[in-house]
Point group: C2
Chain length 354, copies 2
């Protein structure tokens, strides 16, 4: 604490990301990274761009990347905003759309960064409880609000909300921005981007960190009508002209061009999820229905915190949240088949020994 | 404009960066990039890191880069903060240190992003006029303030403030953060980092975009005592856990290791500046004394705006600011010897023909 700080900093509670251990040999199933590397075409493109042009600033508008995204989703290029990971895109969206005199709404169990953004920008919020099945009931959101944010599929539950439900939410909240955070959508859901042309209050965010295997390069984007994109551009251009570096832009463009690789790795993750779910159920876990590249699971008798510690001792890291309603769950990222097998084998031994 | 925007967005006036033209053949002397590419060791390191590990998040703390910077400047690692270019570092510093009930102070002619940050965070400011020689007179800053920011050397003037003057400013303002923005310091000044251990109110920012030739990778940093660094970390971790990607971290580390290349290219730019200054003076320009990789120059009779247009027609881009007190100046980045010669030749022809 220091009196040199701006006063609000004293109350700031930052987000705590999942551990990025520096040991190489761990089975790392804690931060929802893709078990498969980026497309070889992406690596080639990055290597080719690693030249003396790095002395120059990137295109501040990252037009090439916006065009690639617009082309992929068949939207006009002025409907696309890009940023340094979807975390930065979300931060700008919270600042640009959610500072009204009513609280914003999000689920009681969802991406824990949402509360942190509210703290950063002084935004009031109300948490709307998930139902008993850990699903979102849109009727619960029928209350005055300055904005709504839905992670779809939700994290850390993995549960998917239907586009019909999202559309109901949009229709009931034409005076608020409804932000749909689709970080994990490619692993089992249908994107809401197709609704953008009909709903001026819809902003959809996505990331290349998960389904495109590019967490290491920090690329996120938003799709919305131009009046929403303009607010994001104003904020971005008042904060940092060039949040995406030259290599990230090149990588993002190449990633959207390699559809075959994207489909292959996406399907492999989905198949891996099916195997993990079956394996966990056979060991006495109940698993929430997941449309993401992770599952949230609890054991019938073994406490989650103890399981997480026991796995850690065997070099397997999963994520445990010491938070209401989910403090007896493990969030487990889907790995490669051999990693998934190692996880299940370790859990089997732990469960049997207790 | 949209009523879905947070109200402050309506009044937001973003920063306008120098043009990044998409034509290849231009002599680009408008955004103070280094004419020499990054160290070959940097390119090698980036290529080596372009592998399947890009599927993983970067180290959120970028410890390797912090250690490289701390080692280079012989400060403890907890004195170092890193971000996505010094623009992002400055944004966090404005948010974290300058939201007090008194206005912050900066020069009337300086980096135009400072006003933009004030707009973004609702910070009051007062501009302190440079003296008649376009220098900073620290006595002019003896007034109540919520913080002070000095670009040293200043941009777009290039003029250097002595460490003695900076120390006077620090001593007179122990209740405010004095931020010294040293984007261009390596081209002719002495860094204030050596003062950090004695002044708890000093924060120094630098960038790898200029003297380290890495504008394309977006790496900036700040050095200050831990209580200041903590505020920046809190804000960063409430905004975006991983603003520096894996390749940027690797590049930054490699850049600080190749001291020979740094010294060679730095000295080449300084020699180029001497040649440009002499050449401009011979053509009837007056040039402000520059410690940066650019010069601010005005011609005795030719208006700057017309000169900039005429240069542009010949494929040479320099920066012209249509702003009070400097609207008859050109800001010219130092290029390679052949680019500098081309500039001077073009100016000679333009000046002779009028």
């Amino acid at each position: 604490m220091s009196e040199l700080w701006s006063p609000f900093v004293h109350g700031l509670v930052p987000y705590v990301p999942g551990e990025q251990p520096k040991l190489a040999k761990l089975v790392k199933l804690n931060t929802n990274e893709n078990p498969y590397g980026p497309s070889p075409a992406v690596l080639d493109a990055v290597r080719a761009a690693t030249n003396e042009d790095l002395r120059r600033y990137p295109d501040p508008n990252a037009d090439a990347l916006k065009q690639a995204i617009a082309g992929y989703y068949a939207v006009p290029v002025d409907h696309v905003f890009v940023g340094n990971g979807s975390d930065e895109v979300l931060a700008h969206a919270f600042m640009g759309f959610f500072q009204h005199d009513k609280p914003i709404l999000f689920a009681d169990i969802t991406y824990s960064f949402y509360k942190v953004y509210c703290g950063l920008y002084g935004i009031d919020y109300e948490c709307v409880p998930l139902d008993d099945m850990y699903g979102i009931n849109v009727a619960d959101y029928a209350r005055p609000n300055g904005g709504i944010i839905i992670a779809n599929p939700n994290a850390p539950t993995g549960c998917l909300l239907s586009l019909t439900s999202i559309e109901a939410l949009l229709q009931a909240n034409m005076q608020s921005v409804v932000l749909v955070d689709e970080a994990y959508i490619d692993f089992g859901g249908e994107t809401a981007i197709g609704l953008v042309s009909r709903y001026p209050n819809l902003l959809v965010t996505q990331t290349l960190s998960k389904s495109r295997s590019l967490a290491g390069l920090r690329i996120g984007f938003a799709v919305g009508q131009p009046h929403l994109i303009e607010a994001l551009e104003r904020i971005k251009n008042s904060f940092n002209s060039y949040p995406l570096d030259r290599l990230a832009i090149v990588a993002g463009v190449a990633a959207f061009r390699d559809e075959d690789y994207f489909q292959q790795t996406r399907q492999a993750v989905i198949a891996g999820r099916d195997a993990v779910v079956s394996g966990l159920q056979a060991l006495g876990f109940s698993v929430l229905p997941s449309a993401a590249n992770f599952v949230l699971a609890q054991h019938a008798v073994q406490p989650a915190a103890a399981l997480a510690s026991a796995l850690r001792e065997q070099g397997i890291i999963v994520r445990y949240f010491n938070a209401p309603r989910i403090d007896n769950f493990l969030r487990i990222t889907i790995g490669k088949p051999e990693e998934n097998a190692e996880l299940l084998q370790a859990l089997q031994a732990i469960v049997a020994n207790r």
